[in-house]
Amino acid sequence: MDKETLIAQLKEIVKPYAKNQEALLNINENTDFVNDLKINSANLVDVILDVEEQFNIVIDNESMERMLDVKSAMEIIEAKLAAK
């Protein structure tokens, strides 16, 4: 899967949680979930559950802890998909 497609899919996943819609429009690799998109930190676990469902993967606790921005999310998803 190319980066653009992956970012587009992540954008759809975080859409309901993002309080900053302008930052959502400009989502890119460097976007931070909490600082840029203003996602409530409690909702990060919901984002992760939605990612698991979308890509049919399981994200371990260590990976969850660092899944705070688009870049790390992409790395984790790609690694989990490759390991399948």
Binding site: P16, A42, N43, V45, D46, L49
Partner: protein
Amino acid sequence: MNKRVVVTGLGVAAPNGVGIPAFTEAIKTGTSGIRHDAGLAALQFSCQIAGKPEVPESLQLQYLDPLELRNFNSNGILYGLIAGMDAWKDAQLPAGAGVPPDWDSGTIFGAGSAGVDKLREAIYKVDDMQVRRLGSTVVPQTMASGISAWLGGKLALANQVTTNSSACATGAESVLMAYDRIRYGHAKRMLAGSTSDAGPYIWGGFDGLKVCTFKHNDNPAAGSRPMSASASGFVPGSGAGALVLESLDSALERGAAIYAEVLGGHMNSGAQRGDGSMTAPNSTAVQRCIREAIKAAGVTPEEIDAINGHLTATGKDALEIENWSIALGRKGKDFPYINALKCMIGHCLSGSGSIELVAAVLQLHEGFLFPNINCEDLHPDITAIIDPEKIPQQLLYKDLNLIAKASFGFGDVNACVILKKYK
């Protein structure tokens, strides 16, 4: 400090009306909110009728945004939000994310349980070793203080924000606790109220206790029969009521409309001694609670114009009337008017007291007594104590000055509130 406390806002989500205009119309016309419940029938409940507020998704979206409604499954919190946010708006107080913390406003909003349906969902996942898939929504929807926490955020309440719980006395207790907080100068405004979840997991315990009627499954509107000779148990209900209590000083300063004055009241327990138990009231305590409430309000028993009873339609209604009669030293034609809202909405459990208090305040404000339905056949033990004309069965327009409202709950707990027309 001993500040006067008034009611400046009302909200309600009741089985026979959501919102004050619909509810007022329903109680004046004696409209029942009791309906057949297919879910209870499928689960083979003895009682297959119930009272539930009707809240379509379009209405829910006026109180919760789409993200908040994702995986939302706590109808008690929903009813409480509707009642509480409506009451705040009715009092013309500001709400929303842009409002800064209001250090002078808080809430004591009671509940008997929280998000039982949500808790059930969570329990199934946990037992299925899916705890990691619970997400973020379980705690705020199942913690006992959930309703006050949600309201606090919506309304920028920055004084005390808490939830009280005393079974079916919860609503009356919340008003008296909020009253005290304002009276002693700790807050200017308190949102008082209470809510109850709906559904089989709340009502099942009562069905199991055999305290609900099973004789009216084919005629729901006639099922809840307080004070009737053919009363055969209560009809389970649900919903929420809310009252904005405010110091008279603050209300006058804001130019707020005033519905009524809270003169005070009393709360006690029979300690489950004598004829009291976990499930039955100690009459000595009930009478004492009523007398102490009247004393605290600084009025006399002869001045009470009307009673809004607890009266659930179990075998205990006549005993309640007897307790009122002894406590007030009044009987026959000298007894105050009395009515029981449960005839239209069933027993809304932890939500009952506050919904009924909203009705009592509306009666004082507009000068009417809502009709008692389903008691054409008054119980002879009741008519032996009070004259039937004191139990209006038609809407009665009447200027009322003082209403006494009492609620009694499991655990042998009692609360009595004295309300006065504001002049």
